[in-house]
């Protein structure tokens, strides 16, 4: 029995180490799936449908959201920070994406500099709530006041 226990220890340590590394490389289970709902601007000026799909990938996770954006994220070498696998050169006009995880909250960022130097930075904050996601979107756009939109996205698929 003791021999069996000793034999199991290295395996247990391996499993623990692997699960710790796994936690840093991907998201908690509740984020994965398909979610949809209404998103409304705080000042009541606009409302629209929003669908997000979050799925596992080999080294991280992928997020798809409107209008037709799909980005794959992997660990960025900092705890709970993820970089897009597409190497966006922001000063060349490419959108630049990254994400960070804070407990039950995932924040996905999209930054863009237009050809005339105008900018737009969006952050999408998804918080797991029961089996759904609460979403807050903050937009900082050149020449405009910052805008916040909120909504609750219900799970409709795995």
């Amino acid at each position: 029995m003791r021999a069996l226990f000793h034999a199991a220890l290295p395996g247990l340590a391996l499993v623990l180490a692997a699960s710790t590394a796994y936690a840093q490389q991907t998201l908690p289970e509740g984020f994965f799936g398909q979610f949809r709902g209404k998103l409304a601007v705080d000042d009541g000026t606009a409302e629209g449908d929003f669908t997000v799909v979050i799925r596992r990938t080999g080294r991280g996770f992928a997020v798809s959201w409107p209008p037709r954006i799909s980005e794959t994220f992997e660990p960025a070498g900092r705890p709970n920070v993820f970089k897009s696998v597409a190497d966006g050169r922001i000063l060349e006009g490419d959108p630049f994406y990254w994400a960070r995880l804070d407990g039950k909250t995932l924040i996905v960022y999209a930054a863009l500099i237009g050809e005339h130097g105008g900018y737009r930075i969006d952050n999408y904050t998804y918080t797991v709530s029961a089996s759904d996601l609460d979403l807050v979107v903050r937009q900082v756009v050149s020449g405009a006041e910052p805008r916040t939109s909120k909504g609750r996205l219900e799970r409709y698929g795995q």
């Binding site: 954006i69 900092r78 237009g114 050809e115 930075i121 952050n123 756009v141 405009a144 910052p146």
Partner: protein, 187 residues
């Protein structure tokens, strides 16, 4: 790659939106030459109850322009108090190759190699552009924990001289805001 192309197509709308909101580069936009001059005035940070005495000098430089800013930081109406703080800086921007905006000039060195700044490696992305009568200077960072900070310095030409506005955003929230009025000095 196909996915990347799709993303870029999807973002075209966002770019158009940004251009529309920022006014793009329109015929009525000021030119950088319109800003050349020296301006003096003061500013206030409402939330901190702090005041600033400010001098701004914008001058031509090779392929671009420089902005010198002198700032005296004071808590009350009197400037000559023990421990008064003063700082100054000069930023130099050059016309960016393919785009209608300016990038910071890098110090020239035989060892320096121009490379694309990487926000996730701690680099600052900075640029400057003119929208309408406003010269905007922007600096963006991604902090170690993944939050972003965007510092926006906007200088808008007025009949008197220049209005000044500074906002620091962190994850979309305005953390600090400064507004000031400067007069153009006579030569």
């Amino acid at each position: 790659m196909a996915s990347r192309r799709r993303n870029l197509r999807a973002l075209t709308g966002a770019i158009i939106l940004t251009a529309a909101m920022s006014g793009g580069a329109a015929a009525q936009d000021a030119t950088i030459e319109d800003f050349f001059g020296t301006y003096v005035g003061n500013a206030r940070i409402e939330t901190a109850g702090e005041f600033r005495d400010i001098i701004v000098a914008i001058e031509p430089s090779r392929k671009g322009f420089s902005i010198y800013t002198s700032t005296v930081i004071r808590k009350g109406p009197v400037r000559a108090v023990p421990g008064v703080k003063w700082r100054s800086e000069t930023q130099v921007f050059v016309r960016s190759g393919a785009h209608d905006f300016y990038e910071p000039m890098l110090r020239e060195s035989m060892f320096a190699q121009r490379r694309t700044p990487d926000l996730l490696k701690g680099d600052t992305v900075a640029w400057a552009s003119i929208r309408g009568q406003t010269l905007g200077v922007y600096a963006m960072n991604v902090l170690d924990d993944g939050h972003y900070e965007l510092r926006v310095y906007e200088r808008t030409l007025t009949d008197l001289g220049m209005d000044l506005r500074f906002i620091r955003y962190r994850d979309g929230m305005a953390l600090r805001e400064l507004e000031g009025v400067l007069a153009r000095t006579k030569e």
